[in-house]
Symmetry: C2
Amino acid sequence: MSDAAEVLISQCRQAGQRITAPRRIIADVVAKADDHPDVPEIYRRVAEIDPTISLSTVYRTVKIFASTGLVERHSFAGGRARIEPASEVHHDHLFDIESGAVIEFRSDEIERLQALVAKELGFELTGHRLVLYGRPLARKARRARKP
Amino acid sequence: MSDAAEVLISQCRQAGQRITAPRRIIADVVAKADDHPDVPEIYRRVAEIDPTISLSTVYRTVKIFASTGLVERHSFAGGRARIEPASEVHHDHLFDIESGAVIEFRSDEIERLQALVAKELGFELTGHRLVLYGRPLARKARRARKP
DNA sequence: CTGAAACTGCAACTCGTTTGCAAAAGCAGA
DNA sequence: TCTGCTTTTGCAAACGAGTTGCAGTTTCAG
């Protein structure tokens, strides 16, 4: 079990949750995922380790992890939520519309402006969601595209 | 029927769609909505004018309007999509987490930085989604409307 | 080692949204 | 106007991600 997974598990225990075999496995899978998988994908990876673990359990566990702040759920495109282990450092996401891949980035400048905008509108900023959608810049040949 | 609704239905006709009574009514409701209603809410408003119009028709019509670029669908929180008539001027949204109200805003500075970030990551920015979540700073006269 | 409380698998359910179908209506052209 | 070919509609059933009730299983404090 990875380091990160152990942190996840121990934090889970501290949150008053019981540590079970399914949760260990799910924590492990989530902790080592660097590609923002969705729940069915996590389920697939979990099933490779223990096929008896059910999809509901994966949903339930991810939900618990999320409510304890151990993982984050994002919705980039399509209906299903994509999961990533929570990180200390806040970041936003760039969604590659051609491959569905997700790139993380961070812009203090944008963050600063967001807070400013909210304040000007008379609001205390409690959170935000910024997703950029884009396609890879073709260096040599242009791809087929719409105008 | 409002001006904006007439524009909507005439553009709809130009897109090769037939103009029907349900579509007129839905166009009217959507065109005069300034509060980003969700589809069930649009259905409610439509039903006040003609209760025989079905929810499916509202969904279908909103979908057509969206695919023709006449209205936009956003997802701020919760599962349901919220609708607004398309506007020439691009803007982002601030979501009042206390009332569910949506405030539109625009920041050229943020837009500029977004394109810059994307470019630095090797992407052509094709779109973005920025939603700020916040709560009202001071207790003032609030004119928030729920969906 | 025990047993109350928490957890699990399963199937059934929710809820926003979509779809198959037969009936109804729009919109050319005659 | 009327005709007839499409498109559109209402209904109900279907969909898909996610949730939940239940009964049996497991955890872990004592």
